[in-house]
Structure formats: C-alpha cells, structure tokens
C-alpha cells in the first residue's frame, strides 16, 4: 500500500515478471534471439530514472529476494499479477513460465496472482496443459503474446480459428481476463503485426471475457483507443506507458494519459510496472503525484483525481481478479465503481 497526503492506495501490480534470461538459459543455436530480446528489454529500463537502472548481468537474472524487496518491500505493491512469457524457442526453460512464477510465489501466500498462457498453435495438447494449469495454479487470467515463434511460425492472431477454441476453453474453465501483448511478427508479415482489429473481434464474440490490451496497444495507441471506446470488455494495461514515458518524456506521457482518459476512462485502466523492466516504487510515487501540465494543450482532457488514481493503481485490477480490498482502501460512496464496463461508451459517434 502507498500513502500520500492522508490518502491510502491499494496497489495491484497488474503486469510483472520473474524471468531468467541469463546465458545458462539460452537455447543453443538461438543465442542471438535470446540475447537480442533481453537487451531490448534492458534498453527500455534506460527510459526510467538513472538511479533505478540495473547492470545487464543483474537484469538478465534476478532472484526471489530481489523481487520481494523491489516489488513489495520498497515498491508498495499489495498483490502482483504474474504475466508469463514462454519464448521456449530461445530460452531453454522458458523466459518466465507459469511454473517458475508459482514455484517462487507459493512461498508467499496471498501476494501473487498466477496467470498462465496459451498458444493456439499448440493444438489439443496445449488445451490440456491449459486445463491442468488452471487446476494447479488457480489461474483466472492468461497472458497472450502474439509474436511468439513456434515451430517455424512467426506469430498468430486472436481471430485464428484455433485461438477461438482456446478462448472457448478459457470460458469453460472459468478464466476471466485475457491479457493481450502484441509483438512485431505475425503471419503474414506484410500486415501490421500491431493491428488490434483481432482483439476487437474477439472481444465482441466473447463478451464474458475481459480483454486487457497490454502496453495500451503500443505502438498503436490510436487504434487501441478507438477500439476500446466501443468495446465494454476491453481494458488498457498501462505497463510501459508509465515506465517508458512518465520520467523520460513527461509531456508525451501527459498527452497519452489524456487520450486514454478520454477514450477509455479511469475505470478501465490498469497499472502494471512491467517489473523487472522497471521497479514499481518510482512509478507508484510519480503517478500519485502526477497531474497534467498547466497548459491549454491539455485543457480539454478529463481530469484525474485521487479516486481515479486509486482505481488505476489497484481497485480496477482487484475487481477484475476478485481480490479482496480492505475497507480502508475502498472508494467512498459517490466516487465511482472500479472497472465499470460502461465507461467505454462515453464517446458519442464512435
């Protein structure tokens, strides 16, 4: 929890990782991809405050004690949601798997939510693994990475028929939240890999699932906003928005926040640190202190007050994941409903 000016914030980190990307986990023959991936992540860390930067060696492989201190002890997080990313073509044991996360997390009851993942190209076997993961880890959410390489295929879309089989299975298994992370490769490569039209279709066809578009669809924030405003079950995952822009490019951060507040609304935005890319401490502190710059450029954006920040930092995610929020952190009557689906309908004519 975080407290500032007498206000108490319940913090749910909606997007974080526990990875091993050190050379001991690189797949022989694919070293350049494993190395390229983690160095790319490390470059993102460079957009945070200098005093929070890690060496590449530490960044490649950090340990349980590091995570518990950075996220919970120093980072104000009450509950953290693991978002696994497998990348087994590059990392022998996977980049960060459901098992790796849970093995560590089980030592700290109540601190973690274990999302799992699936890949529609894994066929019937993948469906069975999904069922077992839900049973074993109690997963209520899945993280999907559409640019994952798999047996010669460079990626997939949510509208692929095989993906619909998995979404149907998710509903059957009681999974509620689908976190979508777009990446640079899909089939076919001549299309825009970051296009969010497939999320639009899937969200319409699966109204009982929530679709959290991670990184607010970056680099397609505009397409994401216009889609999200029309789909009551589409949410904005703020991982990378705060981490990459709030410190490095504050005016762009304000503009992006303005757009998100206008099109998506404070009920449907979820904080995520993307740890270990960035530590949550400076992100939580900076976000609570944040306001629009005093300029006409921002005057027609919706304002973000304390109640809105409480929703974004934790109450919205708590609602989506059924996390019990102690009374002292809840909103007072009249301050709105976290994760209210209707907030998406505010833009007339869209």
């Amino acid at each position: 929890m975080y407290e500032k000016n007498g206000e108490k914030y319940f913090v749910v980190d909606g997007h974080m990782h526990y990875w091993n990307a050190a050379p001991d986990n690189w797949v022989p023959g694919a070293e350049q991809y494993a190395k390229g991936w983690i160095e790319c992540f490390h470059a993102y860390m460079g957009l945070g405050p200098p005093e929070t930067h890690w060496t590449l060696e530490h960044f490649q492989k950090y340990f349980e004690d590091d995570l518990m201190k950075d996220v919970f002890e120093d980072g104000y997080v009450d509950v953290a949601v693991f978002q696994p990313t497998y990348l087994k073509e590059w990392y022998k044991e996977g980049f960060n798997t459901t098992e790796r996360n849970a093995l560590m997390g089980e030592k700290h009851p109540g601190k973690f939510v274990y999302n799992t993942r699936w890949d529609p190209r894994d066929g019937d076997e993948g469906l069975e693994v999904l069922r077992r993961n839900v049973e074993r880890f109690g997963s209520k959410g899945c993280k999907l990475y559409t640019a994952e390489w798999n047996a010669g295929s460079r990626g997939w879309k949510l509208t692929d028929p095989a993906a619909y089989r998995y979404l149907e299975k998710c509903q059957e298994l009681g999974i509620k939240n689908i976190h979508v992370h777009k990446g640079p490769t899909i089939w076919p490569l001549d299309k825009d890999a970051f296009d969010v039209a497939d999320v639009d279709h899937a969200a319409t066809d699966f109204p009982d699932l929530n679709f959290i578009v991670e990184h607010v669809g970056l680099p397609r924030i505009d397409d994401f906003c216009y889609m999200a405003t029309q789909e009551p079950n589409v949410y904005a995952g703020l991982a990378v928005v705060i981490g990459a822009l709030m410190h490095a490019r504050p005016r762009f951060f304000a503009r992006v926040m303005g757009e998100l507040l206008f099109w998506v609304g404070e009920d449907k935005m979820l904080f995520g640190s993307d740890y270990a890319i960035w530590e949550p401490k400076w992100q939580v502190e900076g976000f609570v202190d944040w306001d629009f710059p005093d300029s006409d450029d921002f005057s027609d954006y919706p304002r973000l007050g304390v109640a809105g920040k409480k929703k974004i930092l934790g109450l919205n995610a708590a609602k989506l994941y059924g996390i019990e929020v102690p009374a002292e952190f809840r909103l007072a009557p009249g301050q709105g409903t976290p994760a209210a689906p209707d907030d998406a309908q505010l833009v007339a004519g869209a």
Partner: protein, 263 residues
C-alpha cells in the same frame, strides 16, 4: 584504391551534442559532395510508422561513396526486434534513393544488428521484393501497409495544421469550410499536402482541409468533432512512439546518427 568519401555517425552530419568523431582526412572534395548528395537522398527516406526521415531519427550509421561511384550505407534501428516489414521498406527505400544519386554506380545498403538483417539485406540487394525475401511468411508486397501508414500520417498532419488554427480562435465550423489554400503557409501544411498527394488524395489549394483519408471525401459537419479527435489521437500515438524509439536508440548506440536531430 581511393579513399572513400565518408560521413560517419557523430561526425559533421550529426547535429547532436553526443560523442562525435573527427571528420575524415584526405577526402577529395568531389567525393565528399557525392556522400553529401547520398545523405541528402537518405533524408528523403521516411520511417513509414513514425513519418520522419531516417536521418533525423538517427537511423543512418554511415554513408560513403567511393571515387568510383560505389555507395555504401549502414543503417540501424532502435531494437533488434523492430518490425521486419517496416525495416524492409526503409532499407529498400534507402537503396532506391541512393541509387538515384547522379554518379552513383553501385549501391549497398546494410541494416545492422537486426534479427532479420540477412533476409532484408539480401532481399533488397537482389531486388527480390518483400514476399520473396520472406519466403512463405508473407503473401504480398508492402504497398498496402505503406498506404495504411500514409493515411495515419495524413490524420496526424491534419491535427498539426488544425491545432494552431483552433488555438487562434477558429471554430470547427470554419475549419469545415476551409480549403488548403485558406491555411497560412507552414511546414506542417506542406507536409500534409505532400502526404495527401502521395496517396492520390486532393492536395491542391482548392481541396477541402478536412477529408477522409480513406476516400478523399470532404468531412461532414456532424462527423467533424470525432474526425478532429481521431486526428489528435493519431498524432499523439505516432509522436509517443517516436519518442520511445529515440530513447531506445540512444540507449543502444553511443554515437548519434548522420543528420540525427534531437527532439
């Protein structure tokens, strides 16, 4: 063997204050001007997603032209995994632009440090096209993708042109009635007209200021508020993306690119 005319990253072409290397010595004036002409040609190549020249973005590592007319260009991108389709377009466009410089006899463009460098560099060198360069992974060339992003550039450019007008007191209704010729001259207006012309959209002084970039039709009054909102969203999306790319590039490479401009 003659010494190539060289423009190195961080050298005279770079405008930033970051690490710079001294200008090469022993370069003949004629060859230097050829390298300059090649760099000027590269400045006409844009990142299709960011709608900015690859030079000002810092993507040009080096550009040389030998006395015999052999041009060599090295390009770089903010990450190892930047989207391969856009990367291919930039390498292919750079190849075409430099090949068109008078006196250039042969051109080699090399994209460095990218997961698809081999496929892209080989495909561009062989003039093979995108689909053949990524055999089995692509079904068509990239004209559609390029047009999609030109339409985004038109939307972003619409906001760049309209925002100052609105700030100066113009009403939305007055924007609807305006033609491109009614707008005071500016770099933003030139850019918008150029992007519209590239798409085959009305771009002359008599053309409406507000048009649908997909159809070229004039925007109707009731659709104007949403159109302008979307124009701003598109501009902000592109600019935010661009700022992240610049930050990543800076972290990845210590030297600035040829012609790089700080934001």
């Amino acid at each position: 063997m003659t010494a190539p005319a060289t423009s190195r990253a961080g050298g005279p072409g770079g405008s930033s204050s970051r690490a710079s290397s001294p200008a090469p010595r022993g370069v003949s004036g004629a060859a230097t001007s050829q390298a300059g002409a090649a760099l000027a040609a590269l400045a006409t190549v844009r990142d299709p997603e960011l709608d900015e020249p690859i030079t000002s973005l810092g993507f040009v590592t080096s550009c040389t032209v030998s006395a015999d007319g052999d041009a060599r260009v090295r390009l770089r991108l903010p990450t190892y995994f930047c989207a391969p389709n856009f990367a291919f377009l930039m390498v292919a466009d750079a190849y075409d632009a430099v090949s068109g410089v008078p006196g250039v006899r042969g051109t080699e463009v090399v994209l460095e440090d990218h997961f698809a460098s081999d496929a892209i560099n080989g495909g561009v060198a062989a003039q093979a096209g995108f689909a053949a360069s990524f055999d089995g992974e692509a079904v068509s060339e990239l004209h559609g993708l390029r047009a999609d992003f030109l339409r985004k550039a038109v939307m972003a450019g619409t906001d760049q042109v309209c925002r100052p007008l609105l700030a100066a007191g113009a009403s939305r209704a007055s924007l609807l009635a305006m033609t491109l010729g009614d707008v005071p001259a500016s770099g933003a207006l030139d850019r918008l007209r150029q992007r519209r012309a590239e798409l085959g959209l009305p771009a002359g002084p008599g053309a409406p200021l507000l048009i649908d970039p997909a159809t070229g039709e004039r925007i109707r009054e009731e659709a104007a508020p949403l159109h302008l909102r979307r124009a701003r969203s598109t501009r902000i999306s592109i600019e935010a993306n661009s700022s992240i790319c610049r930050g990543m590039l800076r972290h990845r490479y210590e030297t600035s690119g040829l012609g790089e401009e700080e934001q």
